[in-house]
Amino acid sequence: MTLLTLIWLPLLAAPLIYLAGRLAGRAREMALLALLAAWVPFGLLVTARGNAAASFTYGAITLQWDGLALLLTLTALGLGTTVTLYSFWQMAAEPGEEKYYAMLTALIGTMIGLGCARDLFNLWLWFEAMAVTSYLLVAFYREQPASLEAGVKYLLQSAAGSVLVLLGIALVLAETGSLDLAPLPPESSFLLRLAGGLFFIGFGVKAALVPLHTWLPDAHAQAPSGISAMLSGVVIMAGLIALLRVLTLLAGDGPIWGWLLLGFAAANITLGNLLALRQTQVKRLLAFSSLAHMGYMLLGLGVAFLLGSRAGAEGSFFHLLSHALLKGAAFLAVGAFLTIFHTFTQDHRPLLISDLAGASHRFPLVALVLSVAVLGLGGLPPLVGFMSKWQILTASFASQNGWIIALVLLAALNSVLSLAYYTPLVNTMYRHKPAAAFAQATALPISMTLPLALLALAILLLGFWPGLVQGIVNNAAGALFP
């Protein structure tokens, strides 16, 4: 029951939040309350791990709490709560604020459900529910043509992915007569392989595998900044986790799936970094960097699938957490600057790197958080991004396989390249002469700075003490590779 409470609490809260917003203008308080309440069943589940309380069965349907579900829930709920608090001030003046909070809370609920799905039907159901809630959030600024364009692209491309997934599910059902996410016997059947390919592309659209990523830069750049953080930190990761769940189904079928993950890793890392290098818009830059970070995770996971070892997956799941913190902090800090910038310009033009000039003088904390976040994304110690990348690279190198070692070197070189686009952000913020928008801005409220400070603290804490989350990532890897 605890599990059911955890999943349904945000989902049931969503309409109530909408009503509270429409009737009493209290959507944000309600949303925060609902998300804080969701931490109670989460805490119970974490402590009661392994008990019967951690699963729910109704007829043929089973929802099961395991390490991977814990990881996804922790990321979604953690970042979601932070984003909700952060949005208090930023979204206050927006028309449709209550829809924002309702959809955000529902989005979190669907991702928790996705993490617990144990059969293909549920997996697809929660995956679609997640997509539907996020479409509306991406196109939240419905008066803006660019925002609508981003929403339409996201909707259509995701829909194409969903069709492929559905086709894949049909093939699996036709071949095995079952929708269970239990490993299939290791024999290569034509239909199952075809299904695997369809899953790869279908979920790959959401997980932003290159070249399926084309919806992502627009969506990340046009969504409200809190949603950009959620998209980059959790939603694309939910796509990845869905893909991993179905791949365990087929894992017995030789090394092909591992090599495919590695192939996409190379594409994501290289293209993500090269495209980010050319960006002058801050949010698009961060969006492309998400591609690269997805690539680092694919590297560790590919090695794990190839060798059947946990180590690579542990590194990747650590990086999933670390990326959520880093990219969350980056998008939220940029969002704070963007709000100030838009208040100044009175329009919706994108924030350029040069617009950040001198931001550190008026907003030292936000500038420090953004610096910490992007330097962490660039993999510099003592920040968490360094530790998680290291864990991925160590596990991959340990394979002693020439191709994988070449890929590790490619990843490391790209990590260096990424500094070439992260550091200008930092340098610009620490100029002495502030840009006009920042010269006369008023101070930010604590509801906005507190989430930023908390994320930065977590980035530093895990950078110094990566052992804190090793239990969580071990269990998550254990869920895939028992």
Partner: protein
């Protein structure tokens, strides 16, 4: 006891960084004092470690996962020596900053980064784990970048910072690959384990480790062909140049080579590669130092050259000689940089042609600077003389006469640029008059060109590099570090024998060849090798005085001077690589049309490709 001292030496500067930053820039005096306090305490803790050295780990703590190994610190003499240099010279530069950085904005950021650097540098040299060695290595790169780009309004500074970061990070990839290879084949990050069992690695793997470590060392210590970042790093505030880009961080590459020498020396071709890289760098650096007019760049090229000499020392097997020279160099180069800082602070420019005659206005700085320059040139009885001669002698003794001869040539060039630098800054004449004394300017006039042309490029002299307006010279604390460093330069060689003995005690894998100070002195002074080197050094110094009479030489070497002036083309190469990478990225950008039709086509094509791969596997 060593446990807590090591913890304190690292954690004190780090906590100082946080505290100084939180004090806020509206209370600069408190920031100055706190920074001094924390760096001074760290220096004290490092000094207390000297009698407590040991080759066993003083700290070994689990760090959460196998991928990170244990957090291990070993207070052996090699590490403690460099930790002492980092913290003591660190506190001296902080003391100097108390005067130099008066009235600067963002002091909190400045001191926080300096203190963060000091702690990281200590961690780097004391680490007993390859993983933490890499971690601290990267942290020093981060601090170095942030301090070079400290004046973020100056595009040169930002560019210098990014160049430094990217090049040292490229070397970081080398270190990463080496460390990961050791871990993949040996299953441990423990440094003593690698030193003991490195020979059991498969030959190609060990060779890969050796050469990736060499790549890392070459980038960090600004060796050929990766030296280009160090001159650009001179945009950092001068105390930072003294600390990071002369006395400590740039030594990390030499440290890496020395630390792993016992395991890597046996790799075929490795020592030859080390010697060649060091020699080319030493020679190139001294030529470039001879052709620049920027005081700080002269010192930067000089650092490049001297680091090359240390790398050569490692290559020819002179481990003790390299560390002796490293310590000497740290003292006299920090002295030279701080002296240069005092000069630049006073006159408000870095162009040596706009200085001159400063001996009269700032005699104390001039005297200290001359001591440093004399040590750099290898004038007898100063620390630089003994350590350099020891390297020369080791090269000859270990059977590398060609290395010896090239180093002697470098020594001559070094003496020439040291004299040139002192002459222009402290003796010569200011701007207009002294054009007559510079052969280059005479050349320009012989050719009948009216305006003052750059003697090497025949282009107008570059616009003055201003480092702010002239300041009144602050008094005491400001000059105390100069005096202390000058005394060190004069006297530190007296304990060379003891230092060697102390080093040999806790380095079980290195087999150091050390002598008591007296025997060392006798061995060096009674050697013909020293005599030749001294003669060439003297010739180098004299050449500067006769430069008017040997104009024809100036003409002869015109192409060489041109090349040296242009950094032998390496800056061009760097720019070229940057342009090409950007062009490559721009080409890929064309594939991102942003049109839904093409996006969908991408999905369909990816599906087809995947299916092709799957069914042809």
């Amino acid at each position: 006891m060593p446990f807590w001292l090591i913890i304190l030496t690292i954690v004190l500067p780090w906590s100082g960084a946080i505290i100084v930053w939180s004090v806020g820039d509206h209370r600069p005096q408190i920031q100055h004092r706190l920074a001094l306090l924390f760096s001074g305490l760290a220096g004290l803790c490092a000094l207390l470690l000297i009698p407590l050295t040991s080759d066993a780990a003083a700290i070994r703590l689990p760090f959460g996962a196998a991928a990170f190994g244990d957090l291990t610190f070993i207070p052996d003499s090699l590490g403690v020596l460099l930790a002492v240099i980092a913290t003591v010279i660190g506190s001296l530069t902080v003391l100097f900053s108390n005067g130099y950085m008066q009235g600067e904005k963002s002091l909190g950021r400045y001191y926080a980064l300096v203190l963060l650097f000091i702690g990281s540098m200590v961690g780097l040299v004391l680490s007993g784990s390859l993983f933490f060695l890499f971690l601290f290595w990267e942290m020093t790169a981060l601090c170095s970048y942030a301090l070079i780009a400290f004046h973020s309004d100056n595009p040169q500074a930002v560019r210098g910072g990014m160049t430094a970061l990217l090049i040292t990070q490229l070397g970081g990839v080398g270190l990463l690959a080496g460390v990961l290879a050791i871990y993949a084949w040996l299953g441990s990050f423990d440094i003593p384990t690698f030193l003991a069992e490195g020979g059991s690695l498969p030959g190609p793997v060990l060779a890969a480790v050796g050469f990736t470590f060499l790549l890392a060392a070459a980038t960090k210590s600004a060796q050929f062909p990766f030296h280009t970042w160090l001159p650009g790093a001179m945009e950092a505030p001068t105390p930072v140049s003294a600390l990071i880009h002369a006395a400590t961080m740039v030594n990390a590459g030499v440290y890496l080579l020395v630390r792993f020498y016992p395991a890597l020396a046996g790799i075929p071709g490795w020592t030859t590669a080390v010697i060649l890289i060091g020699l080319i760098t030493a020679l190139m650096g001294s030529l470039m130092a001879l052709t620049t007019y920027d005081l700080k760049r002269t010192l930067a090229y000089s650092t490049i050259s001297q680091l090359g000499v240390m790398v050569v020392a490692v290559g020819v097997g002179g481990i003790f000689a390299s560390q002796f020279h490293l310590a000497s160099h740290a003292l006299f180069k920090a002295l030279l940089f701080l002296g240069a800082g005092a000069v630049i602070h006073q006159v408000g420019t870095r162009d040596m042609r706009q200085m001159g005659g400063l001996w009269r206005t700032m005699p104390l700085v001039a005297n200290c600077f001359v001591i440093g320059a004399a040590a750099l040139a290898g004038v007898p009885l100063l620390n630089g003389f003994w350590s350099k001669e020891l390297i020369l002698e080791t090269a000859l003794h270990n059977g590398y006469p060609w290395v010896y001869l090239t180093l002697v040539l470098t020594a001559g060039l070094t003496a020439a640029y040291a004299v040139r630098m002192v002459w222009w800054v402290f003796v010569g004449w200011r701007t207009e008059q002294f054009q007559l004394l510079d052969p280059g300017f005479q050349v320009a006039q012989f050719k009948g060109i009216g305006e003052a042309l750059d003697p090497v490029t025949d282009s107008p002299a570059p616009a003055t590099v201003h480092s702010g307006s002239p300041h009144p010279s602050p008094q005491f604390p400001f000059h105390a570090p100069l005096v202390i460093l000058a005394l060190g330069t004069l006297l530190s060689w007296l304990i060379a024998g003891e230092m060697g003995h102390w080093l040999a005690q806790t380095l079980p894998f290195h087999n150091l060849h050390v002598l008591p100070t007296l025997e060392l002195v006798a061995e060096i002074t009674l050697n013909e090798a020293t005599l030749l080197a001294l003669m060439v050094t003297a010739a180098g110094m004299v050449i500067w005085w006769w430069r008017g009479r040997i104009l024809w030489v100036w003409y002869w070497f015109r192409p060489l001077r041109q090349a040296a002036r242009h950094d032998f083309g390496f800056t061009w190469l760097n720019d070229r690589i940057v342009t090409d990478v950007k062009g490559f990225a721009a080409a890929w950008q064309l594939t991102q049309t942003g049109q839904l039709n093409w996006n969908m086509a991408g999905i369909v094509m990816a599906l087809l490709v995947i299916l092709l791969i799957i069914f042809n596997w």
